[in-house]
C-alpha cells in the first residue's frame, strides 16, 4: 500500500514526460526521414538518364546555348548539385517547395489541389475496406477449414492478384457500358462547373455551395473508383484479419471464455476482435497510406486528377520540384499514418499502453 502510494505519483510524473519523449522522438525521426527522402530523391533524379532542359525545351531552344543557359539559371540547374540541394533545403525550411516546371505554379499549390481529390477517393475506400475486410476476415477465421472459409480465401487471393487497371476497366465495362448505371470518369459531369474550392472535396464543396445536383453528381462519380480501391484493399485486409483472428482463436483465454459459458458474440466481439485488431491496424495503416499516395492507374483510367496523376506527369517531365514535393508528401503520409497506428495500438491493447 505504502509502496503503491509512493510509486503512484512517481509513475504519474514519468508518464507525461514519456509520452512527450515518445512524440518528440517520432517527430525527430520523421524530420530525419523527410531529410533522407530529399537526399535520395535529389540524387536519383540526377542519376537517371534524361535532362530537365531536354524534357522541357524545344529542339530550337536546345540549339541556342543562351536559351539553355537562361533556362538552367531560372531553375537553378546551372549550379553544382550540392548547391542546388542546399538552396532547395533552405527554401523548404521556409515552407517553399519550389515551382513546378510543368504547371508553372508553386508545388504546394498543386499539392493542395490534387491531394483533396485523392483524399476523396481514399477515405471512403478505406472505411469500406476496413468494415468489410474485418467482418469477412473474422467470419473466415471462425469458419476455419469449412467451404465458406475456402471461398473467402480464394476470393481474397483473386483480389490480391487482380491488376488495378484491369479491375477498373472491368467495372467500367460492367456498370457504365453494359448496365449504364454509372458515369464513366472524372469528378463531375461536363455540364457542372467545379464548385468554389473550400475543402477541395467536390462532394463537400458542392454541398457548401448549395449545388445539390452537383453534389449528387460528384457522389455518383465516386462510386466506381471507390469500388475498385475498396476491392483491392479488402483483399489484403481479409487475409491479415483471418490470419490474426485464427491465432487469437487458439489462445487459452478464448477457450476459457467459452468454457465459462460466455455467449459466442461476447467471445468474438470482446475477446477475439479486440485482440486480433493490432496486426490489422498495422496493415490498414499501410493500405491507407498507399491509397493516399496516389493510385496512378486507377486515377488515370477514371480521369481522376489526384496525386497519382500529378506524380506521373512530374516524373515523365523530369519536373524535379514536383517530384520532390510528391516524394515528401508520400513520406509524410507514411510517417504520420505510422504514428497514428502506434498510438492506436495503445488504445486497443492495454499491454502495449503499459509497456
Amino acid at each position: 500500500m505504502t509502496a503503491t502510494t509512493i510509486g503512484a505519483p512517481a509513475a504519474g510524473r514519468r508518464r507525461v514526460p514519456s509520452l512527450v519523449r515518445f512524440l518528440a522522438k517520432r517527430v525527430a525521426i520523421t524530420l530525419g526521414l523527410l531529410w533522407g527522402v530529399t537526399v535520395v530523391t535529389f540524387a536519383l533524379v540526377h542519376v537517371v538518364p534524361g535532362d530537365a532542359a531536354t524534357a522541357n525545351l524545344s529542339e530550337q531552344a536546345l540549339n541556342d546555348p543562351s536559351v539553355v543557359a537562361a533556362y538552367r539559371a531560372k531553375w537553378g540547374l546551372d549550379q553544382p548539385i550540392y548547391l542546388q540541394y542546399l538552396h532547395y533545403l533552405g527554401n523548404l525550411l521556409h515552407g517553399d517547395l519550389g515551382t513546378s516546371q510543368q504547371t508553372g505554379r508553386p508545388v504546394l499549390t498543386d499539392l493542395l489541389q490534387y491531394v483533396p481529390a485523392t483524399l476523396e477517393l481514399a477515405v471512403p475506400s478505406m472505411i469500406l475496406a476496413l468494415f468489410i475486410g474485418t467482418a469477412v476476415g473474422m467470419f473466415a477465421a471462425v469458419r476455419h477449414g469449412r467451404a465458406s472459409d475456402q471461398v473467402v480465401r480464394a476470393g481474397s487471393l483473386l483480389g490480391l492478384s487482380t491488376p488495378p487497371f484491369w479491375l477498373s476497366l472491368v467495372v467500367l465495362y460492367l456498370f457504365f457500358y453494359l448496365l449504364g448505371v454509372s458515369p464513366s470518369g472524372g469528378r463531375l459531369s461536363p455540364q457542372f462547373a467545379p464548385p468554389p474550392s473550400v475543402t477541395g472535396l467536390y462532394t463537400v464543396d458542392t454541398a457548401l455551395a448549395g449545388q445539390w445536383a452537383a453534389t449528387w453528381d460528384a457522389v455518383q462519380h465516386l462510386v466506381l473508383p471507390v469500388l475498385v480501391l475498396t476491392c483491392l484493399t479488402v483483399a489484403t485486409l481479409i487475409r491479415f484479419v483471418r490470419s490474426a483472428m485464427l491465432e487469437v482463436l487458439q489462445q487459452d483465454y478464448i477457450r476459457a471464455a467459452y468454457a465459462k459459458g460466455l455467449p459466442r458474440r461476447t467471445v468474438l466481439g470482446r475477446h477475439l476482435l479486440r485482440a486480433g485488431l493490432v496486426p490489422v491496424i498495422t496493415v490498414s495503416g499501410l493500405a491507407f497510406a498507399s491509397l493516399l499516395s496516389g493510385t496512378v492507374l486507377v486515377e488515370n483510367i477514371f480521369g481522376w486528377p489526384g496525386v497519382g496523376q500529378y506524380a506521373y506527369r512530374s516524373a515523365t517531365g523530369l519536373d524535379l520540384p514536383s517530384i520532390l514535393g510528391v516524394s515528401l508528401f508520400v513520406a509524410l503520409v507514411y510517417t504520420v499514418v505510422n504514428l497514428l497506428v502506434d498510438l492506436l495500438y495503445g488504445l486497443i491493447d492495454p499491454r502495449i499502453r503499459l509497456s
Partner: protein, 535 residues
C-alpha cells in the same frame, strides 16, 4: 453487453445504408450519356498539353484548344488541305520570288475585351513567336513581320518559301492582343526567350479574338472553353466546351453509350472496332511510322553499312505491320502521309523480299548482324509501339538479322535521340505543319532528324541531296509535289529511313453532332465548326 458487437452491428447498419445508397446511385445515374447534352460540347481526349500560350503551344490537345481561342491570318476548313482559306486576312499576295507576302486584314475583328485587332497585334504575335524560341518557333525562324498600315501586314522570309501561307494557319501563329500580353509581361523583342513572362497568364486566360475563350484549365483533368460573346464571326453553336482528359479505353466505352453532344479524339486503328455504327467517323492518314538507322560508323558499324539498311528494308512485312494498326492503316510507300499532296501512290508501297534481304547480307559479308532497336514504350493512337517493334524484330530474324529491343520511357528516348548515339530507333512522325515539303527541312541530310541519325551531306548520295534542294527550290505547288515524290523514291533507295506504315487520326462523334471533321491541319478538330445535327 460488450461495446464491440454493438460497434459491429452499427457498422453493419452503416454498410447496409451505404450499399443502399450505392444502389440508389446506380439506379439513378444516367451515365455520361445524358451529361454531355444541353449546350455543352464534350470532347474526350487523352491530354497532351503543356501550355495554352500560342507562342509555346505544340502538343495535340493544346493545338485543338488554341485554334478555338485564337484566330490566325489564314486557316483550313475541314480536311481540305489543298489551299489556305481567309481567316483574319481577307486576302494575301505572294511576291514572284516567294519571299514577301502581303496580308490584308479584316476590319471588324475584335478581341474579347472589345479592342480592335490591328496589324500591330499581328506583327507582335509573329515576332514574339519567333523570338520565344519555344517548340513551335522552329517553323518561323526565317520569318519577320512588319506593318504597312493598320490593316496591312507584310511577312518576309529570306529564303523563297511558297508555303508561308500554310504556316500562318497554324495555332501557334494565333494573334494575341498585344496590349494585354505586353501588360502581362510579354515581349516580341530579340530577348523574348529569356525576358517574356506572359506564358503564366496565357495558361490561365485567353487573349485572342477566336470564337471561344478560356474558362478554366487543369492539365490533368479538364479544359473548359466558353463562347466569346464578341466574336466577329458566326456565333458558336455551343456556349461551353469541355475537353476531358480521358484514358483511351474509357473513351471507347464512353462513345459507345453516348447520346449527347460528345466526340472523342484518340480512337483510331483497332480501337474503332466494335463501336456502334451510329457514331460518325472522320479520318485522314496523316502520320507515318518509321525506322531510323544511324549512318555514323562511330555509332554503329552495322547500321551505317548501306547494305544492312537495304537488307532491313527488304526484310519487313509492311502489310503485316499495317495490320497491327488496324482501321485505315496502310503500308507506307514513302515518308509523306497520304493526307498531304506529294504522297507516293499506294501502288508504290514497300514489299517484303526475304530472299533479297538474305542476298544483300551475304554480298556484304554480314553474318547474323546484331543491332539494338530503341523505341519509346508508349501507346500512340491506340497502338502499343512495342507490338510493332516486336513485329520488326520477328521479320528481320527471318532474314538473319538479330534485333534486340530497347524500350525506353519517352523522355529518355527523346534525350537519347537528341544525343545522336542511337544505332536504330523506331517512332511515329507527323508533319511540323501541313506541308509535305516541310519534311525536307527535317529529314534531308544534315537537317534535324538526319543530324541525329548521323546522316550528313558528306555521307549522303549526291542525288538525294540534289533532289531535296529541288523540292525547296520549286515554287509551283504542282511541280513541288512531283519533286517530293522523286525525292521520296530516292530516299527509299538510299537513306537511313525505313517508313513502315501510315496511320490516321480520327474524330469519332455522336450522331447528334454535325461538322465534326478530322483536321490534318494540326488542330484535330475545328471546335467552332462543330454544330448540332438536331436544331
Amino acid at each position: 453487453m460488450s461495446a464491440t458487437p454493438r460497434l459491429l452491428r452499427r457498422a453493419g447498419i452503416a454498410l447496409t445504408a451505404l450499399a443502399l445508397a450505392s444502389t440508389a446511385t446506380a439506379c439513378t445515374a444516367g451515365g455520361d450519356a445524358g451529361s454531355a447534352g444541353g449546350n455543352t460540347l464534350t470532347i474526350d481526349t487523352s491530354f497532351v498539353v503543356k501550355s495554352l500560350d500560342p507562342g509555346h503551344v505544340y502538343e495535340a490537345t493544346g493545338n485543338t484548344a488554341v485554334h478555338a481561342m485564337y484566330d490566325t491570318l489564314l486557316t483550313f476548313h475541314g480536311s481540305d488541305m489543298t489551299r489556305p482559306q481567309p481567316d483574319l486576312a481577307t486576302s494575301y499576295r505572294m511576291s514572284k520570288d516567294a519571299k514577301t507576302f502581303t496580308f490584308h486584314l479584316r476590319r471588324d475583328a475584335r478581341f474579347a475585351d472589345g479592342s480592335p485587332l490591328t496589324a500591330d497585334d499581328v506583327v507582335f504575335s509573329l515576332n514574339r513567336l519567333r523570338n520565344l524560341k519555344a517548340s513551335p518557333s522552329v517553323t518561323v525562324t526565317d520569318l519577320t513581320a512588319s506593318r504597312t498600315d493598320a490593316h496591312t501586314v507584310v511577312v518576309h522570309v529570306t529564303k523563297p518559301d511558297p508555303n508561308v501561307p500554310v504556316i500562318l494557319t497554324q495555332p501557334y501563329t494565333g494573334i494575341v492582343n498585344s496590349t494585354l500580353v505586353k501588360a502581362k509581361g510579354g515581349t516580341d523583342g530579340a530577348d523574348a526567350a529569356k525576358a517574356d513572362t506572359a506564358q503564366k497568364y496565357l495558361d490561365r486566360a485567353s487573349a485572342g479574338s477566336g470564337p471561344y475563350l478560356l474558362d478554366s484549365f487543369d492539365a490533368s483533368s479538364q479544359l473548359v472553353l466558353k463562347a466569346n460573346p464578341r466574336y466577329w464571326g458566326p456565333k458558336p453553336r455551343f456556349s461551353r466546351v469541355v475537353l476531358r482528359n480521358m484514358d483511351v479505353q474509357n473513351q471507347k466505352l464512353t462513345m459507345s453509350r453516348t447520346k449527347g453532344t460528345e466526340l472523342a479524339l484518340d480512337l483510331s486503328g483497332r480501337m474503332l472496332e466494335g463501336l456502334p455504327s451510329t457514331l460518325q467517323r472522320s479520318s485522314a492518314d496523316d502520320t507515318f511510322y518509321f525506322l531510323t538507322l544511324n549512318a555514323d560508323p562511330a555509332v554503329s558499324k552495322v547500321t551505317s553499312n548501306p547494305a544492312f539498311v537495304k537488307a532491313v528494308r527488304a526484310s519487313i512485312d509492311y502489310a503485316g505491320v499495317a495490320k497491327l494498326f488496324g482501321g485505315n492503316a496502310s503500308p507506307a510507300a514513302g515518308v509523306v502521309p497520304p493526307a498531304y499532296p506529294g504522297a507516293l501512290p499506294k501502288s508504290e508501297a514497300q514489299h517484303q523480299d526475304l530472299a533479297k534481304a538474305k542476298q544483300l547480307l551475304a554480298d556484304a559479308g554480314l553474318h547474323t548482324p546484331t543491332v539494338q532497336l530503341m523505341y519509346p514504350s508508349i501507346t500512340y493512337r491506340g497502338v502499343d509501339l512495342g507490338t510493332v517493334a516486336t513485329k520488326v524484330q520477328g521479320d528481320a530474324k527471318k532474314a538473319g538479322i538479330r534485333i534486340t529491343l530497347d524500350p525506353q520511357p519517352l523522355s529518355s528516348f527523346l534525350n537519347a535521340q537528341r544525343g545522336g548515339k542511337v544505332a536504330m530507333r523506331f517512332s511515329p512522325q507527323s508533319l511540323n505543319y501541313p506541308v509535305a515539303a516541310s519534311l525536307v527541312n527535317n529529314l534531308a541530310p544534315g537537317q534535324g532528324t538526319a543530324a541525329t541519325t548521323g546522316w550528313t551531306v558528306a555521307r549522303a548520295d549526291k542525288k538525294v541531296v540534289a533532289a531535296g534542294k529541288k523540292v525547296d527550290a520549286t515554287l509551283d505547288p504542282k511541280a513541288q509535289q512531283k519533286a517530293l515524290q522523286d525525292w521520296q523514291r530516292l530516299l527509299n533507295q538510299s537513306s537511313p529511313y525505313i517508313p513502315l506504315a501510315y496511320n490516321s487520326g480520327v474524330v469519332v462523334a455522336s450522331p447528334a453532332l454535325s461538322g465534326a471533321v478530322y483536321a490534318p491541319a494540326g488542330w484535330q478538330v475545328d471546335i467552332a465548326a462543330v454544330g448540332s445535327s438536331t436544331k
